[in-house]
Amino acid sequence: MSEDGSWAEEVMKNAGLRTSSGRAKEIATETNRIHSGVKRVAATHFGFYDEPIQFLAALEELGEDDQ
């Protein structure tokens, strides 16, 4: 996504929030950082997902019997 912030400004305004071009640019940069990080973490494979159920199941599966 472009970092000029115009798209973020439009999204913010469509959401009914006040913003400025300068602030929208910062938000675009922040959003791109998040997007890039998620892309590196989450190589989502085509398949069945049903969160938070699968995450809760993983916690149970990986948890130790702590008694």
């Binding site: 959401a15 602030r23 969160e51 995450f55 990986l62 702590d66």
Partner: protein, 471 residues
Amino acid sequence: MSRPNRLQSLVELMEELNSGRMTSIEATQSRLEATRNWQPKINAFISFDEEEAGQAAIKSDLARKRGETGLLLGAPLAHKDMFLRNGGRSSGGSAILAEIQGNDDATVIDRLNKAGAIEIGRLNMSEFAAGPTGHNAHYGHARNPWNPDHITGGSSSGSGAAVASGCTYAALGSDTGGSIRLPAIMCGLYGLKPTYGRVSRYGAMPRAWSLDCVGPLARSAADAALILTVIAGHDPKDPTTSRRSVPTWQQLINKPVKGMTIAKARGTPFGPIEKETAEAHESALNAFASMGAEIVEVDMPNFDDLYAAADAISKTEAAALHGKWMRERPDDFSVHVYSRTEAGFVVPAHVYLASQAARANVLRDFCIRAFSDADALLIPSITTPVPTIAETDEGEPGAIQSMVAGITKATRPFNYLGLPGLALPLGLSSKGLPLSCQLIARPFSERTLLSLGHAFGEMRGEDGMAPTLPK
């Protein structure tokens, strides 16, 4: 530097109350006196009601005379002001929530009440539980009892300040990106972020429901174990809670350190660490080794990416929660909270969902890396000394974002992973400010964390160190 005085622990208080050597009235009055003395210096409370607390203590003593029992019968406590009360108001540290009257008790409050705990007041917090420093534009900044020029950490800022100063024996906090651990870290306390799903969030003000956890801040691991025993367990009102049985943790925290393996991260996964903090961290590892633990090195994932994944969830869910108010009442938000939530309106839905979908596999990968050969991971908590209020008093959104990321870089990734984490106090720095590290373990391994914390505290003999009331 002279050795600080020592504050009584919650476990010790309960022994006094149960044996009849102390009454709840005496315990409550002494904490109210401490509160009167400390409040002007540290602003730990949003409100406290001496009359109501005194009446509750009288009732508690009468109940005890009638033969009633409870794990916390007569214990004067106070909690972050974000839990629903039937007929009461909880501010959430905000100007907005204080207007809303509750119609039920939060499950954790209900469980504390049933255990006989007394509440002496409501504790300060970052607005909407969204800030790692303890700044609050509406109720005033909380200040660190060890040096009021310094931050308490947040968002459970009042919980950290009130427990460290001795105004309360323990306190509940909530943790979405470090908000139990950071005030514990910066105020010299034990702060337990339980496994996601270990403690009900019903009636707890949400920040980001996929990450939020409720847990205790306390002056000893045994105190944290006692509170956890009372509040943990399945709750039909919070379907994410685990159906695992709840042990009596305070009786199980003597798990021997000898035979355990503690992992440390290879390299510096959170970047450079200030020298005195790094030395304290190393000395903690040496202490566990001297108690018979084996220390191993493990490779860590890229925590910046896990941080981003947590951000995708926390900002988006916060935007969903606060959108109406941000549109209609933007001036009722501080720039800190407003600006930190804005990106949540812009993060695409597929990024949020990808972050959620990856979570189970990322957790599996992390557990293999960290816990295949280890019972717990000892890792930095913050990489700098406890900052001053002035150093973190940012007013511009970009600077706020950088400051927050700097403070929470070692805590937020573990909310994404859902793992339990214990802030472990490591004594005081040469400037008299708390030093600390984090212990992280497999899901539902609170016993391991509390046992390690308990053994460490017993060996060091520094639990309950009391700061001096500033003049």
